[in-house]
């Protein structure tokens, strides 16, 4: 069942990064290449998704080395749909930066690095090998660190240092866990570890390894006590870079968490489940409270990433078919809506000449289409029907009710309200309020068609996931079914062995 389609999403941006590096210095060419890369990624990811949807989990044994000896790439429905959503993000960002005059690119390596970052995100989603996942995480960390440090402000460097230090701690924990697991089970293949761990569940070393993985992925996903690297760093980069970060980076952590704690160490009934439940609620609350005090467009959004990550991990912690499908639905909706909001953050800053909400204003009267398009992801994030965020929140809420977890329900409703408050704050400050009298406006105030296409493309998906929830939700239910049935994954990778 080896299909090279599985590796293509990761390889296409890698090859494009190489081509961009050969053509370095020719910035215009790089923009077109990013666009072409986004289109090809979308096609490849769509083909992969279609294949997995119709024929079930696909595997690819890299180099022809049989699992569990070689590195195996595995695309189950979760991986394939995340790859598909990533390709939407990639194309939207390529569209957003396609026109040269409105988005200056400060460093010739920015676009190649962004392609490498995308490559590592696809790789992390599609790999079926724990150590290979670590390698993709490292590629992601290095590329994003370099992208962060391109900002010249002192604060940008400070944010980048916080980011890299905390993520290095995460890498060390991850690597230690891999060492423990390999020592105990003698394998690194996800399916093979899962099959072997089943025999020795209460082994102290394995509990240690699970806890270390839990901590490592918590840092990557920016969960509550270890979330502060995120709002310190994201908003110092150009808008399209922070949109990629905000949309994808933490979500890879959430994905790794879902994969590990359903397949290898099922959470149910362990103390980690309780821990994750408490941490998720704290993450939701602290994220949203952090946002309330901010006045910087993209910094507010950064805090909201944290708060929303809490919803997804809460879905995992509640552990029922409905809760897991809710977590997956949330993940898919969030990647698209959040990327889009960051792009709007960039757009508003470009139109008003500042990232600070106090200096923005008057966009509703001067740029009506932008304002209307902004409402789609903003209201979706706040959970207004019929947009995608409404169903995402509704599903998690239902799962919490089903589990009789009153505290989760109350917290979720409060956080939903506070999210609404933040979105209204952005709306009234940047769009509705008259422009401040002393504001210095940039001369070029008409964003190009490219930028509009980028945000409209993502808004389209936000509407689709909401209006077409009847089509998306059954897929999420199938994903949850696959996640809860470890035997299915193990069988797909290892066959009858």
């Amino acid at each position: 069942m080896n299909s090279n389609l599985l590796i293509l999403p990761a390889i296409v941006p890698f090859v494009f990064a190489l081509v961009m590096l050969w053509l370095r210095g020719r910035e215009g060419a790089a923009r077109y290449l990013a666009l072409l890369s986004g289109v090809i990624q979308s096609i490849v990811a769509a083909l992969l998704f279609k294949l997995v949807l119709s024929e079930g989990t696909q595997t690819l044994e890299i180099g022809g080395w049989e699992a569990p000896f070689g590195i195996t790439f595995v695309a189950d429905l979760l991986s394939a749909s995340l790859a598909l959503v990533t390709s939407f993000v990639s194309l939207a960002i390529a569209l957003y930066i396609s026109v040269e005059k409105d988005e200056p690119i400060t460093h010739p390596f920015t676009l190649p690095l962004l392609q490498l970052l995308l490559s590592s995100v696809y790789g992390a989603f599609l790999t079926g090998d724990l150590f290979n996942l670590f390698v993709w995480f490292e590629v992601m960390l290095i590329t994003s660190f370099v992208l962060l440090s391109f900002g010249d402000a002192k604060q940008a460097i400070g944010g980048a240092i916080k980011y890299v230090l905390l993520n290095l701690v995460s890498s060390v924990l991850f690597l230690t866990a891999i060492g423990l697991l390999y020592g105990k089970t003698g394998t690194l293949n996800f399916a093979h570890i899962a099959a072997r761990v089943g025999h020795l569940s209460n082994e102290p070393l394995l509990i240690g390894a699970a806890t270390l993985l839990f901590c490592a992925f918590s840092i990557k996903a920016a969960l509550f006590p270890v979330h502060f690297w995120l709002p310190a760093s994201y908003h110092h980069t150009p808008a399209f870079v922070s949109a990629t970060f905000g949309g994808l980076l933490t979500k890879v952590g959430v994905y790794a968490m879902i994969r590990t704690f359903t397949l290898v160490f099922p959470l149910q009934g362990t103390w980690l489940q309780t821990a994750l439940w408490i941490i998720s609620i704290a993450t939701m609350l602290f994220g949203v409270l952090g946002a309330a005090s901010q006045m910087n467009f993209r910094r507010i959004l950064s805090f909201h990433i944290i708060s929303q990550i809490g919803y997804m991990t809460l879905g995992l912690a509640l552990w029922s078919p409905l809760a897991l499908s809710a977590a997956v639905f949330y993940l898919l909706h969030h990647i698209i809506a959040k990327t889009n909001l960051f792009l709007f953050g960039g757009l508003a800053a470009r139109l008003c000449g500042s990232d600070d909400l106090r200096k923005q204003g008057g966009l509703y009267s001067s740029h009506l289409p932008t304002a209307i398009l902004f409402l789609i992801p903003a209201l979706s994030l706040a959970g207004m029907p019929p947009l995608s965020g409404f169903f995402a929140k509704l599903l998690v809420l239902q799962a919490a009710l089903e589990a009789h977890s009153l505290i989760s329900v109350i917290c979720m409703l409060l956080v939903g309200l506070a999210t609404m408050y933040s979105m209204i704050k952005i709306w009234s400050e940047a769009f509705w309020k008259p422009a401040p009298a002393d504001a210095v406006r940039p001369s070029n105030r008409t964003p190009s068609a490219g930028a509009y296409l980028g945000v409209a493309y993502l808004a389209l998906f936000t509407v689709f996931i909401g209006v077409g929830a009847g089509y998306v939700f059954p897929i999420c239910e199938r994903i949850a079914g696959e996640l809860l049935d470890q035997g299915c994954y193990i069988h797909a990778v290892l066959g009858e062995r």
Binding site: N4, L18, G63
Partner: protein
């Protein structure tokens, strides 16, 4: 002050190092060695030469920058992995060609794996020398 002893000895040592690097590269598939270690050995030869004769001396003899050299290596490595896709094998599968007899090394099997190793060799050598020379240049500025 001219580092006379260093210069004289490097003239003999550097070629031996380079030959050794090639030897490492070619025997690397089944025995210890390979592109990475070969690349490091080659980079150390060039770095030693640059250290004793000056960076300009080395770089003026080269038609391309070290960055392009490393980039060429990376591209070659990716290309070698792709060959298997064109013959409908899993990505990265080694596709083997004829077997040759090379002096000193012994049997030498041609194939995409060797191509990959050459790619890694160029990447590591280009990266190593580029990195080293950047530091030398910074040091010289002080």
């Amino acid at each position: 002050m001219s580092p006379f002893l260093l210069r004289t000895s490097v003239k003999f040592i550097a070629p031996i190092q380079l030959a050794l690097a090639l030897y490492f590269l070619l025997r690397g598939h089944n025995e210890p060695g390979g592109g990475f270690i070969g690349g490091l050995a080659a980079a150390s030869a060039v770095l030693l030469y640059g250290l004793s004769f000056g960076i300009q001396e080395v770089e003026s003899k080269l038609p391309v920058s070290w960055f392009s050299f490393a980039l060429f290596g990376l591209s070659l490595a990716v290309f070698s992995a792709f060959i298997s896709v064109f013959v409908n094998q899993p990505f990265f599968t080694g596709i083997w060609g004829p077997e040759l007899y090379a002096p000193l090394v012994g049997k030498l099997k041609l194939g995409t794996v060797l191509l990959f190793d050459i790619g890694v060799f160029c990447l590591v050598m280009g990266f190593g020398v580029g990195l080293g020379f950047t530091f030398f240049a910074k040091e010289a500025e002080r």
